[in-house]
């Protein structure tokens, strides 16, 4: 990225980025996390074993296996109709995969190696160092869609079940995986920006955006 000997990460132009946040009037705010230079450097120091297991063949197959097993187990429950069973399988799969890939942040293993640089990133954002449309991501994108299509094919959903399944699919599986939402966080009722209550060190410092670093930065 940059030669280690000449790295001069001065916290300069404080005027634009370190001033503290202006008072915001909006209810909903979309913020970028995890894009600062130090965090990018700390992430790229070592291989992230917490995220590259999704590239293994078994990790792809396990989705199918777990869904089939789940369906079988749910079907054994007495009084279970096809509609309910498929809905439950669908919703459980979406909920658990959302929890695993899009809710929990940070890394359980090797936390010392990365000095907390992954603390704000979900598993989805850690996969393949943030590259988009990689094979694993394509599979993880397609799997819930295939499950949904299979479920609508094999049952005759009434309108409400269909709507529930479709909205769950869209909001739990498709929207969080979109590349436009990569490392963005939607905050509701964002904290008011009095000087004392602003959150930790300024998050989206455009002045230190690594994509802007070129030779002139180091002069």
């Amino acid at each position: 990225m940059s030669s280690a000997t000449s790295l001069k990460l001065n916290l300069r132009p404080p005027t634009q980025s370190l001033k503290g946040r202006q008072r915001s009037a909006s209810l909903v705010k979309v913020e970028e996390v995890g894009g600062r230079v130090e965090e990018v450097l700390d992430r790229s120091a070592y291989v992230n074993i917490n995220a590259n297991w999704v590239n293994a063949k078994g990790a792809w197959l396990i989705h199918v296996v777990l869904v089939v097993m789940g369906k079988i187990i749910i079907d054994t429950m007495p009084g279970m109709t096809q509609q309910l069973s498929w809905t439950l399988v669908n919703l459980l799969y979406l909920a658990l995969s959302y929890l695993m890939f899009h809710w929990v942040t940070g890394i359980p293993f090797d936390n010392e190696l990365h000095a907390g640089a992954y603390d704000d990133l979900t598993l989805w954002e850690q996969i393949d160092d943030g590259a988009q449309y990689t094979p694993s991501k394509k599979w993880l994108f397609t799997a819930p869609i295939l499950l949904f299509l299979a479920s609508t094919h094999y049952t005759n959903y009434n309108l409400w079940m269909f709507v529930i399944n479709l909205t769950a699919l869209i909001f739990l599986a498709i929207v969080p995986k979109l590349p436009q939402l990569h490392r963005q966080r939607v905050r509701f009722l964002a904290e008011d920006a009095s000087g004392t209550a602003t959150p930790v060190t300024p998050r989206s410092e455009k002045a230190l955006d690594p994509s802007l670093i070129n030779d002139t930065y180091f002069k």
Binding site: M1, K8, L9, N10, L11, R12, P14, T15, L18, K19, G20, G35, E38, V40, D42, S44, A115, G116, A117, D119, D129, G130, A131, Q132, Y133, T134, K138, F141, T142, I145, L146, F148, L149, T152, H153, N156, F162, L166, L169, I174, P179, H182, R183, E191, G195, T196, A197, T198, P199, V200, T201, P202, D209, P210, S211, I213
Partner: protein, 546 residues
């Protein structure tokens, strides 16, 4: 056989009814095409299966089918996208071979080191060369005469001490120059451990750990204890080494106004409120400040600081690089000056290079604090240990300080004498505490209010201080101060500007001249030297006005 409805018959009848003959050939052609497609499709093996599947999926609900088709189209589009890198991880421009060749042809190497600007050249040549050993009155090579040294840190007058020199030479004969190994591996010699014990004993703490360079000691101690997610509350005017240490640590940092303990308390309260509002778990919290600030010679109010630390449950990292060996009755530093037990400070950092005129730095505290740094202090683990003779010089310095408290009283007298002369000088403003052994002065601009003025309230998230009067012209003031320094040197007094890393420090500070008072000179000599400085100031400022 075929289950797909054929609309052709209805179309032709309708057309016949309306009598529209122009579209008829087209529509007939279309119906024939559809029929053809149907026949080919039904010939394909498995078409019946597909047809049955589609019909059962469709379930007579066109809206649902449309939605599902959209979903399938979206999935297919996603699958067909090519892999892209993370936007923020840098853009790789792809050049063609020809472009690469052109760029290589055009490339001319830049010089390894850019040629110096005029100012840099002057700055470099203005550093005097000393012939012989450094001391309170070294011989300057360019003039050939001895000059009074008020630039080097020599607070208790230990530089050039004959007894220490003899002991150092003895140690040199015994150990050589040292093993140059990491202290944790094969670099630690018994004299290092002795110096650590001496320091801990001198200050009254449990133990100490020795670093081989005084400047970066604090930059190594801070990241050893502060990690990402911890909270640091630091003074706005901390020195460069502390700034770098805080940056390396990746901790959350909040700033409070320079040497203003009321502002510190406000920030501590706000941090706690913020944490409670976010519902975040309690992490380690640190207050980082200096004993005597290297930037301007202010002294922090240690008892109040300790009281705040206990009230809000913070750990205190105190950088006593300047104050160790120069304040207090026997030079024990700020803890002796304020009569506070040194064990109250969690991590006390001092400099053997500044206070004891030897080399290196140390950190004292409880045994846990020092033992932790033996593995986690990166500078301790990854640097060479200092030569044993310098460790012995440090130990001897400590015993000198113990036995000769008169050195410190001389130092304080000298400080008072220097300040008395300089404060009466027109055109400059002396900053700092009156007991500080380093005296900074800067140019006094006619209309500004020198000293801190509270303009707008500042946010602890930013390191910028509140505005204090009109902005100063850095380069012009540096030039004037350098003229003063050069003139003083020509008259036999060696002082220096405070050298700053412009463009690398977080806040640009006003250029100052730094006078390091020493106990090795008598009061008369100091007064005479201060008089020379005053005369230089008057001369240079007078010339400038013309």
């Amino acid at each position: 056989m075929s289950s797909i409805p054929v609309p052709s018959i209805e179309l032709t009848t309708r057309n016949a009814a309306t009598g529209n003959t122009s579209l008829e050939p087209l529509l007939t052609w279309l119906t024939l095409m559809f029929a053809q497609l149907e026949r080919t499709f039904s010939k394909v093996p498995g078409s019946a299966v597909i047809a049955r599947y589609v019909r059962s999926s469709h379930q007579n609900d066109p809206g649902r089918t449309v939605l599902e088709l959209i979903l399938i189209a979206f999935a297919v589009r996603t699958l067909l996208q090519s892999r892209s890198r993370d936007k923020s991880e840098g853009k790789l421009i792809k050049f063609s071979e020809k472009e690469i060749d052109e760029l290589v042809e055009e490339w001319t190497p830049e010089p390894l080191c850019a040629p110096l600007t005029e100012w840099e050249q002057r700055d470099l040549t203005s550093v005097p060369v000393i012939a012989g050993p450094n001391g309170p009155k070294p011989k300057i090579l360019s003039t050939g005469k001895a000059a009074v040294n008020l630039a080097s840190y020599n607070f208790a007058g230990l530089a050039g001490n004959e007894h220490i020199k003899e002991r150092a030479i003895e140690t040199l004969r015994k150990y050589g120059l040292g093993s140059c190994g990491p202290p944790g591996f094969y670099g630690t010699v018994d004299v290092h451990l002795e110096l650590e014990r001496d320091i801990a004993d001198f200050l009254g703490t449990e133990s100490a750990i020795l670093y081989s360079q005084g400047f970066i000691t604090i930059s190594s101690v801070i990241p050893a204890f502060c990690k990402r997610g911890d909270v640091i509350v630091a003074d706005r005017a901390v020195n460069f080494a502390i700034q770098k240490g805080i940056q390396i640590s990746r901790s959350t940092v909040r700033w409070y106004d320079h040497n203003d303990l009321k502002s510190l308390e406000d920030v501590l309260v706000s941090v706690e409120k913020d944490r409670r509002k976010r519902g975040a778990p309690v992490t380690r919290r640190f207050i980082i400040t200096e004993g005597i600030f290297e930037r301007d010679g202010e002294i922090v109010d240690l008892p109040k600081l300790i009281e705040l630390k206990h009230k809000y449950k913070y750990r205190l990292i105190l950088d006593e690089s300047i104050s160790f060996g120069s304040v207090g009755r026997t030079g024990r530093g700020l803890t002796e000056l304020y009569n506070v037990p040194a064990s109250q400070v969690d991590m006390l950092i001092g400099s053997v290079a500044n206070g004891l005129c030897s080399a290196g730095g140390f950190c004292t505290g409880s045994t846990i604090v020092t033992e932790h740094q033996r593995i986690n202090g990166t500078s301790f683990v990854f640097s060479a240990s200092m030569p044993p003779l310098l460790a012995v010089a440090g130990s001897e310095g400590i015993s000198y300080l113990r036995n000769t408290p008169s050195a410190l009283t001389t130092l304080q007298e000298n400080v008072r004498a220097v300040r008395a002369v300089l404060e009466k000088t027109e055109g400059i403003a002396v900053v700092g505490h009156r007991a500080s052994p380093i005296v900074h002065f800067h140019l006094k601009t006619p209309s500004s209010a020198n000293g801190s003025a509270y303009g707008t309230a500042t946010s602890p998230t930013t390191v910028m201080p509140p505005p204090t009067g009109p902005p100063f012209d850095c380069e012009a003031e540096e030039k004037i101060l350098q003229d003063i320094v050069d003139d003083a040197l020509a008259n036999g007094v060696f002082i220096t500007r405070a050298k700053r890393l412009r463009g690398q420090e977080m806040v640009e500070t006003r250029p100052t001249v730094r006078i390091a008072v020493t106990a090795a000179l008598t009061k008369k000599e100091i007064e005479k030297a201060a008089g020379v400085v005053k005369a230089s100031v008057v001369k240079v400022l007078g010339k400038r006005k013309l």
